[in-house]
Symmetry: C2
Subunit: 333 residues, 2 copies
DNA sequence: CTGAAAGCGCTTACAG
DNA sequence: CTGAAAGCGCTTACAG
């Protein structure tokens, strides 16, 4: 019983060929004659040989790993994007390393952008420093984007998506339509607020000068927004609200319900993302669906193309969104 | 402008020392005299040298990676466990690779258990085949466990946790207490059902012979459970229910609310896990809190200890749970 | 405290 | 189609 793992030289000895030939059978079988190939394959089976990836990677000057930088792993929104990424990367022979940018420090992130750690980077956090990310390994941005970072972007048209929510609420007869934005400075917050404002203006509806920023995209931020709304003058406060995330919309609904109000009778609510949960709460939430798995898949494919050295025009790729009407929105009474 | 990344030999040349000395400065500075160390460090700074991990790993016969096998990445329950794992592994110099066992095939999993891919494995999915997991790389099991797999387990006492829910409902005066179990055959489902049955028996309360299994731990499974409950005889159906997951409890509540019932007036509900969301729905859910981050941290620490070659008694490590009383449970009227 | 040298397990240009 | 040999970038026992 051999303790050590067999290596290519063990296979070569048993098959009676050189290590070069064994290597070719493994990575380029077409170069080897059929007979030799069969002998080598038998020896591989006999020894239970398995390739040592560290050695191959060192030789190939690659790591075989792709790092995804995620703002917050505990947000279910990202899980499906990661699924999409993995579904492309893993069959292509890459490992997917997932790093939570909130819990990691800045030095750690730079460490991930190291060519000896990862062959490429998928950035899902728009708040990262562009300087630390560029010029090291190939990068693709997905969902969010880092202003000033020259790397392909796979995303939705956030402004147009926000306008979809406004159009839906306006079509239901609402005139005082509010928007609870994500955190100040976040690229998504700004784009969605901008789209909301433009849509309101285009319909001649009243429009805030200043966004109602939340602390983040969380449930708790939505709860806090509910307190602001509940404290406002009932004669002038919005009769309908769109939110920059489903989590916020959920937090809002939970809080106003706890205060005895009924959604959508007392206020219509539109979320953003279409996370699984919100179809199951009461009332089921009307929202904007983002194609999460597709966002992940396309970002991964684009990164692979760059890794293969293919030319990338480098321009934004915009994926379609969809308004999903459920029961949290109703005509103005 | 040098195109290539500097390597240890470049640093050595500039510092006027051997590559061995440079290597020692990097990984064992105490072995090198102060003067030499300073010279080498200056040369490192000058060249911008960064260690090549593939080379070091090949030399050390390790990969520097730990794989976490997760049943379902899109379940927010796992995100915080992964956070806990990463918080220990990353500072210790390991990469965390995350693999979703649902989306990956069986061969892929075996590939992950390869010593050339990962130095260790954290298994979070109890449905994996024990045979494919043992005898390859060090393994630690967390939350779930694989029957027959001889590897340390970090988990909660699921039966005792389920009994906590029963005790709470019984103390509120409920006599007909039901339990919606997780999927049949899942180790957690069985343990929690068993704990429920024992607690009911101990109090002399009526107790089902057979678990009410759900398809999985999902929202949709909870919704389906609601339909069964709604269809049952109101005179004999449970007045209180505990669930094997928060997601199921949410799905249940949403569905019964849609049928015009009120929680907890018409039925008391206890969840399991304490995912963030459920504090924000209406009514906020009473549940059993699992220490997720701690489960992840301890599993990672235990794996690191094995990797260091420390002796591990190999027995189960049980973490405490806590009943969190919110508003989805009320006295029987 | 420091250096020369071997070696981790692969791959590939080169020669035949 | 196949082999001998160099080399990917480190680390470390050995010798001094």
């Amino acid at each position: 019983m051999k303790q050590d793992r067999p290596k290519i030289s063990d296979v070569a000895r048993i098959a009676g060929v050189s290590t070069a030939t064994v290597s070719r059978v493994i990575s380029n079988p077409g170069m080897v004659s059929e007979d030799t190939r069969a002998t080598v394959q038998a020896a591989i089976a006999e020894t239970g040989y398995r390739l040592n990836h560290a050695a191959r990677n060192l030789r190939h000057q690659r790591t075989g790993g792709i790092v995804a930088l995620v703002p917050n792993l505990s947000n279910p929104f990202f899980a499906q994007i990661l699924s999409g990424i993995a579904s492309v990367l893993v069959p292509a022979g890459y490992n997917l390393l997932v790093a939570d940018t909130h819990s990691a420090g800045a030095e750690m992130l730079l460490d991930y952008a190291e060519p000896s750690r990862a062959d490429g980077l998928i950035v899902l956090d728009g708040a990262l420093p562009a300087a630390g990310l560029s010029g090291r390994v190939p990068v693709v941005q997905a969902c969010e984007w880092v202003p000033g970072l020259l790397a392909p972007r796979v995303k939705i048209d956030n402004a147009a998506a926000a306008a979809l929510a406004v159009a839906h609420l306006a079509d239901l007869g609402h005139r005082r339509i509010g928007h609870v934005a994500g955190p100040r400075g976040n690229v998504l917050s700004e784009a969605r607020f901008k789209g909301t404002v433009e849509a309101l203006r285009a319909r001649g509806l009243p429009c805030p000068d200043q966004a109602d920023y939340a602390a983040d995209f969380s449930l708790e931020a939505g709860r806090a927004a509910a307190d602001r709304w509940l404290a406002a003058d009932t004669a002038t406060r919005p009769t309908a609200l769109s939110f920059a995330s489903d989590a916020m919309a959920c937090g809002f609904i939970g809080e106003v319900q706890r205060h005895g109000l009924v959604v959508p009778r007392d206020v219509s609510v539109v979320g953003f993302d279409d996370i699984e949960l919100i179809a199951h709460i009461s009332p089921p939430l009307t929202t904007i669906r983002q194609p999460r798995a597709a966002l992940g898949r396309l970002a991964a494919e684009r990164l692979l193309a760059r890794l293969r050295g293919e030319n990338d025009p480098g321009d934004d790729m915009l994926l379609p969104v969809e308004l999903v009407i459920r029961a949290s929105t109703a005509p103005l009474v």
